[in-house]
Structures are given as structure tokens and as C-alpha cells.
């Protein structure tokens, strides 16, 4: 694992958050939520800072991060792609669309492409069942996506 440099400014912001929780080890999950919203993800170096601030072991912080699926140690891509696997989207072939994204981007769900451009995740229902199957790229919604259309969507962001 290569060491990354965290932004000093963001670290200071995080320390203020820890302080607002009285640096209480019982608030670890809340601190992790805030940390993820500040940094976008929870890299190892960040977990070391949090462990120090709350006076718990790094192993414990890592244990909590890996237990809850909401927390991620992988930075999201520049264009996060989310595929809806809610009931309506699922019955209209969302899984095949997901498989095609995995094939085209050569990554699994929860991963980010090596160039940092795309990340892939799943979600449950965005409330647009009439458009099923639905794919989100960032804030933009794509409806009635078929596996054949996946390449075009990716191409839109690859220029």
C-alpha cells in the first residue's frame, strides 16, 4: 500500500469534528460518517488519524470500517456509476446491464477504474421505476438502459 498525503486543511476539519464529539471513542461511527463525507472515502492514513484522535487502536477503527458496508476505503471515481437493482429495474434486466458495465470497465462493484474516472456501485430504487432499468452517472439519470447502450454511456465521459 503506497502512502498517500492527506490534505492538511481537511485533516483540520476532521479534528474539529472529533472535538465536537468530545473525542469520545463511543462516537467512532459518527466520526467515520463525517470523515467519509469530508474525504469521500476512508483511506488507511485517515483511519490512523481517527484512531489517534479518539484514542482507540487502528485495528479497531479498521474493524468498524470493514463491518459496515456504507464505509469504503476506495475513492469514488470522477464519474460514479450506480445501477439500480430495485425490483422494477431488476425484472427489466438491470443485472445484465450491470454485468456489461463490469465487462466494459473491467472492475467489480465497489471498485474504481485505475485511471480514477469511473466507479461502480448498486442501489435500490431511485423512484423512477417507469424508466426501468435506471442507471445514474453522477447526478444524471439514464432510463431504459440496455446492455447494448452501456458502451455509449461510458464513451460520453471518456472524451
Amino acid at each position: 500500500m503506497a502512502k498517500i498525503k492527506l490534505s492538511e486543511k481537511k485533516i483540520e476539519e476532521l479534528k474539529v469534528v472529533c472535538k465536537s464529539f468530545n473525542n469520545d471513542k463511543g462516537e467512532l461511527i459518527n466520526v467515520l460518517h463525517s470523515a467519509q463525507s469530508i474525504f469521500g472515502y476512508l483511506p488507511a492514513e485517515l483511519q490512523e488519524v481517527i484512531a489517534k484522535e479518539l484514542n482507540v487502536s487502528v485495528a479497531h477503527v479498521y474493524g468498524v470500517v470493514t463491518f459496515y458496508s456504507f464505509f469504503t476505503m476506495i475513492p469514488k471515481g470522477e464519474h460514479p456509476i450506480s445501477i439500480c437493482l430495485g425490483t422494477a429495474c431488476y425484472v427489466r434486466g438491470a443485472e445484465k446491464v450491470l454485468e456489461e458495465f463490469k465487462r466494459v470497465l473491467k472492475i467489480q462493484v465497489g471498485e474504481t477504474t485505475a485511471d480514477g474516472k469511473f466507479s461502480l456501485s448498486c442501489l435500490r430504487c431511485v423512484g423512477a421505476c417507469g424508466l426501468a432499468p435506471v442507471v445514474l452517472v453522477g447526478e444524471k439519470v439514464y432510463g431504459r438502459v440496455s446492455p447494448d447502450g452501456v458502451k455509449d454511456i461510458v464513451a460520453e465521459y471518456n472524451n
Binding site: M1, A2, K3, A44, E45, Q47, E48, V56, S57, V58, A59, H60, V61, Y62, G63, T66, F67
Partner: protein, 590 residues
């Protein structure tokens, strides 16, 4: 105290409120089987995550079965611990635990000592009806401890020891569901974690998930090599516990048989780490007096308290956690590491043996000693002062392997000159022992008077943190003692904050001291065993004709002939060390 009456297996029992069903049952001779549950009574150590469900019992009126280890009794409760429903459920629970456990009992390092194996025997499991997916996690081998988490049953005992008792924080449960394992942060290898190799995780692991790195093969090879002179040293705590491996009662002293067995194994010289413990006292005791005298003269640069440095788990702990205090511990090496250079540079040279042709083996109650002897600063041109360190358990295996009937061996004596020791060297095994030994010598050297009563009972016992003030001819000396690294941390934080009132502090990483070390025969949570070992060590001390380190005739001769004086030039070169800051960059590679 409010008492509660209830019925267990048809027997009435009255216990204090807030007692668990498990403990209530024990008071009337009912032993509910447990697996994840663990307790060292009177030592403030308990693990009851209620996770394994082996201890389930039927509580009349309650819909589901209750885990006895974590369910409190209530008034008029009716409990059945072996109804057919309980027996079936308990066996199914075990079968499910076994469904993803590697069936490697024949070759597993823990075979014969494994609590899961014992439980399968006890519950009469004769087939494995469930074939689950098997975990295939990488094996992690550190200098002292091997993690094979495929054999882990997630009892969390190691996690409790590492975090709650030792406050080391190397291990935590990570991931979830089937992927859950106990691991260091970021699932790095143990070697990259703040692990101190105290081995307490190994000493409580019910299965073969955590075991020691076994060096007995290397020792067998060395013994078979005619070009090598193989010298062995035995730590004080070993003689009070080795007998347990051969069916003797805990607390049986087997010093003479142990020496006889080592001789029959083929060691050329059977020496005693206790000799080196006496040497440690000469150096560490002199350092204490030196710092104290300078302090009393008003020297403000003197660091007090002085901390003992014989425990390698403790040394690792402060290198990781208190790098700002590295000038506080004594610079004296541990007895194991003092013995090495004396054997190779003094004894070996006297006999004309080149150090490369001498193999020094230590028998230790400890796993951190395995790491300690591999440290670079304890090598000369790549040749370690101590080549291999075996645990008490490994020695027992070696003796059985060599067809030696241990119990019928005669008592034999250590070889000289490095086998002669005093009672002061012996008590190093117990918490409080090192500082007691140091005080026996420091008192006489400081006051110039003879110490009439050598026992300092105020320094003995099993309380987590103890303190006493000794009278050095009108000068009050404040002594602190901690065993278990969590207790040590408390004393250290006081030192850090400048609040410590002690002149000297003794710290041992393991609960009870070396007698409770990570390399000792498994106690399976019976704290009586640890107490019996401690009592045996004090008996051995009483039986010694000489009980103060500075009166050991071979120590006196060693200084006269070779070392000069304590803290002298030669001593500094061979018997003292320095420490390293290991606090940074633990997890992430550059």
C-alpha cells in the same frame, strides 16, 4: 448483598443477584460446557461475548435457549442444563462450528491441547453432518507467532487479551459474516502491527489459530551437528511449570529433572538463565543506585523512576507506545540476552570455541523472547548471541520426542560456571520478583548493612498494580509494580505526565509475570495453576543457600576475571543496550 434462589437440574441453589447461570451452576457442581467463554479468576480477566452458543441451557418459560455464560439468574428461575432439547441444540451448534473448521487434527500444532477437539469429544460428535465452505486465508508468520485464521472460531478471546488486558490493540475482528477474521489493522501481517509478541493471545486461543513459531527442529539439527557446541539456558519460570506437561501437579518444581532431561537431549552444557538474572541485578541494581545517588545530590538530568527492562514484551510495548520515554527504562539487557554474550565471548573463548561454532539455546516461558533473540543489535556479524529460543511447551515436546521418561529421571545439577544462581535470580519469574531481587542487592550496597530478612512481602501478590515504600536506612524508596501491559500503561501515563512518585518500577508484560507467560503450558483459564507456579518459585528461593545476587561466587569471579565492575566499559559493551522508536509508520509501507 441480595440473594436469589433458583433451581438448576432439580437442585435448589442460592446465589448473589447478578450471578450468571454458568457461575450459579458451578457452585453446585454442574459444569456447563463453554467454548468462547474464558476467565482467569482473581486476575480481573473475563471474556463472555456469548457468541459460540455452546453453553445454551433451557430456562422454563423462556421461548428460546439461553446462553448460560451471559444470562443472569432471576428469582425462582428453573434451569435445565442437559434436557434433550439442550443436548441436541448444543451438538448442532458444535457441528455448525466444525462445518468450516479444517479437519487437520492429526497434524495441527494444537492437537491434544485444543479446546474445540476436547469439546467434540465431550459432546460425542462422531460425524460431520454439515459440510460448509472452507476459509482459505493466508497464513501469517511473524518472528514469534503464527496466525492461521482458517482455524479461528471467532471466540474473541485473543481480541479481549490484546485490547482489554494488554491495551496493545494489534488485533480486532474485521469484515463481516463468513469473511470475518481477527486481524491487525488493514489485515497487514502481525509483524507490521504494534504486536509486542507477549503471546497472551496464543495462551488463550482455544484452537490452533494462534500458535508459536516452533524452533525445535533447528535445535535438533544443532544437537546432531558434531561441529557445534550447544549450550542451553533455562529461565526461572520454566522449572515451576514444565512438570504440568508430564502430568505432575501445578506448582511441582522439576529443576533437577529438567537439567537431567536437557543433558540426555545432548546439550553440551546445561546452564541457567538465573545466573544471568543475578548478573542483570548487578547491572540494573547498580544503575538504580547510580541514578538515585546522583538524584539525591541534586542532579536534575537524572531520570527517575528507573524501569526494569528484562521483559521483551514490555520493551516492545514502550518502543511502540511511549517513544518519548525511551531514556527511562534501564539500559540493562534482559537475562536471556546477557547470557548470550557471556556464553560466547567469555565462556566460549575460555574453552577456545569460536562463537560461530557455539549454539546458544534458551528455554523460555515466553514468545517475545523468540523475537528478542532475533533483534539485529543482539548479533555480531550476523551471528546471534542467542540462536534459538524455545518455549516451555516446545521443550516438553522435545523431551517426549526423544523418548525420555521425564518422571523417572534423577535430579541433576546445572553445569558451572554459568549454572550457579541465587534465590534472587529465581524470583525473576514472578511479578514483583525482579524488583525484590534488585532491592536485596541495592539495600546492601547502598546502606553497607546486612539485610537480615531477604523477603519483601510487600512487593508480592497478584494485585494488578502494587506499590510499597522500603526503608533504605532512613531513605524511603518508593517502588511500583505492574503486571499485564494495560496496568503498565497506567503507570507509564503517570510518568509521562510527571506525576509518578516512584523511584523504581517493575513491569512484566504477562499477567502473573513470567510464570503466566505466553510460552508456558496452557492453563485453560485456571488461575490456580498460575498461583501454584508462583508459590513454587518462592519455595525454590527459600531453598537456595545464597539468596542475594551480589553474593553469587561465580558472578563475583566473572567481574574479577572478565567484566571489571558493574556499569564498566566491558559491561556497557556486552550487557547494555539501547531502544528504538517504533511508533511511526506501522501499517503503511513507504
Amino acid at each position: 448483598m441480595e440473594m436469589v434462589k433458583l433451581t438448576i437440574d432439580g437442585k435448589m441453589v442460592e446465589v448473589e443477584k447478578d450471578t450468571t447461570i454458568l457461575k450459579a451452576a458451578k457452585t453446585i457442581g454442574i459444569d456447563i460446557p463453554t467454548l468462547c467463554y474464558f476467565q482467569l479468576k482473581d486476575m480481573n480477566i473475563e471474556n463472555r461475548p456469548g457468541g459460540c452458543r455452546i453453553c445454551v441451557v433451557e430456562v422454563v418459560g423462556r421461548r428460546n435457549l439461553a446462553p448460560a455464560c451471559s444470562t443472569n439468574v432471576s428469582k425462582d428461575m428453573v434451569v435445565n442444563t442437559h434436557s434433550i432439547r439442550v443436548l441436541n441444540a448444543r451438538r448442532t451448534v458444535l457441528e455448525l462450528i466444525l462445518s468450516d473448521h479444517p479437519a487437520e487434527c492429526l497434524t495441527c500444532a494444537k492437537s491434544g491441547y485444543c479446546e474445540l477437539q476436547t469439546m467434540a469429544q465431550q459432546l460425542g460428535v462422531r460425524e460431520l453432518p454439515f459440510q460448509g465452505e472452507q476459509s482459505t486465508y493466508r497464513k501469517d508468520t511473524s518472528p514469534a507467532i503464527i496466525r492461521d485464521v482458517d482455524k479461528c472460531i471467532m471466540c474473541r478471546r485473543c481480541e479481549m487479551m490484546c485490547n482489554d488486558v494488554q491495551t496493545v490493540g494489534a488485533l480486532s475482528a474485521v469484515n463481516r459474516g463468513f469473511m470475518a477474521v481477527v486481524a491487525p489493522a488493514f489485515e497487514m501481517n502481525l509483524e507490521k502491527s504494534p504486536c509486542t509478541y507477549c503471546g497472551q493471545c496464543v495462551s488463550v486461543c482455544p484452537t490452533g489459530a494462534l500458535t508459536e513459531v516452533d524452533h525445535s527442529r533447528n535445535v535438533i539439527n544443532a544437537l546432531a551437528d558434531p561441529a557445534k557446541t550447544v549450550v542451553v539456558q533455562t529461565a526461572p519460570a520454566v522449572r515451576a511449570a514444565l512438570g504440568e506437561e508430564f502430568g505432575l501437579a501445578p506448582g511441582t518444581l522439576v529443576t533437577g529433572k529438567m537439567v537431567a532431561a536437557l543433558r540426555r537431549l545432548g546439550f553440551n552444557y546445561v546452564f541457567d538463565t538465573d545466573f544471568a538474572a543475578d548478573l542483570t541485578i548487578m547491572e540494573e541494581g547498580s544503575e538504580l543506585l547510580d541514578r538515585l545517588t546522583r538524584y539525591l545530590k541534586g542532579d536534575k538530568t537524572v531520570k527517575l523512576p528507573i524501569l526494569t527492562s528484562c521483559c521483551p514484551g514490555w520493551v516492545n510495548f514502550f518502543e511502540h507506545n511511549f517513544p518519548d520515554l525511551m531514556d527511562v527504562p534501564s539500559t540493562a539487557k534482559s537475562p536471556q540476552q546477557m547470557f548470550g554474550p557471556i556464553a560466547k565471548e567469555y565462556f566460549g573463548k575460555k574453552l577456545g570455541i569460536d562463537r560461530k561454532n557455539m549454539i546458544v539455546v534458551s528455554i523460555m516461558p515466553c514468545l517475545a523472547k523468540k523475537y528478542e533473540c532475533q533483534r539485529d543489535e543482539f548479533k555480531v556479524d550476523g551471528d546471534p548471541d542467542v540462536n534459538y529460543s524455545l518455549s516451555t511447551r516446545e521443550l516438553a515436546h522435545l523431551i517426549k520426542f526423544a523418548n525420555i521418561d521425564f518422571n523417572s529421571l534423577p535430579d541433576e545439577d546445572f553445569d558451572n560456571p554459568l549454572g550457579e544462581s541465587t534465590g534472587a535470580g529465581v524470583i525473576f519469574a514472578n511479578t514483583g520478583g525482579v524488583i525484590e531481587a534488585a532491592c536485596r542487592t541495592a539495600y546492601e550496597l547502598y546502606t553497607g548493612k546486612k539485610l537480615e530478612k531477604v523477603e519483601f512481602n510487600e512487593l508480592r501478590g497478584l494485585e494488578n498494580i502494587r506499590h510499597a515504600t522500603l526503608d533504605f536506612n532512613g531513605l524511603p524508596i518508593n517502588i511500583g509494580i505492574a503486571h499485564g501491559l494495560g496496568n503498565a500503561r497506567k503507570l507509564l501515563e503517570d510518568v509521562q505526565a510527571g506525576k509518578s512518585l516512584f523511584h523504581a518500577i517493575e513491569i512484566m508484560a504477562c499477567p502473573g509475570g513470567c510464570i503466566g507467560g505466553g510460552g508456558q503450558p496452557f492453563h485453560h483459564g485456571d488461575s490456580e495453576i498460575i498461583k501454584q507456579r508462583a508459590a513454587a518459585i518462592y519455595r525454590e528461593d527459600v531453598g537456595k543457600p545464597i539468596r542475594k545476587s551480589h553474593e553469587n561466587p561465580f558472578i563475583i569471579e566473572l567481574y574479577k576475571e572478565f567484566l571489571g565492575k558493574p556499569l564498566g566499559e566491558k559491561s556497557h559493551q556486552l550487557l547494555h543496550t539501547h531502544y528504538f522508536d517504533k511508533s511511526a509508520g506501522t501499517f503503511v509501507d513507504e
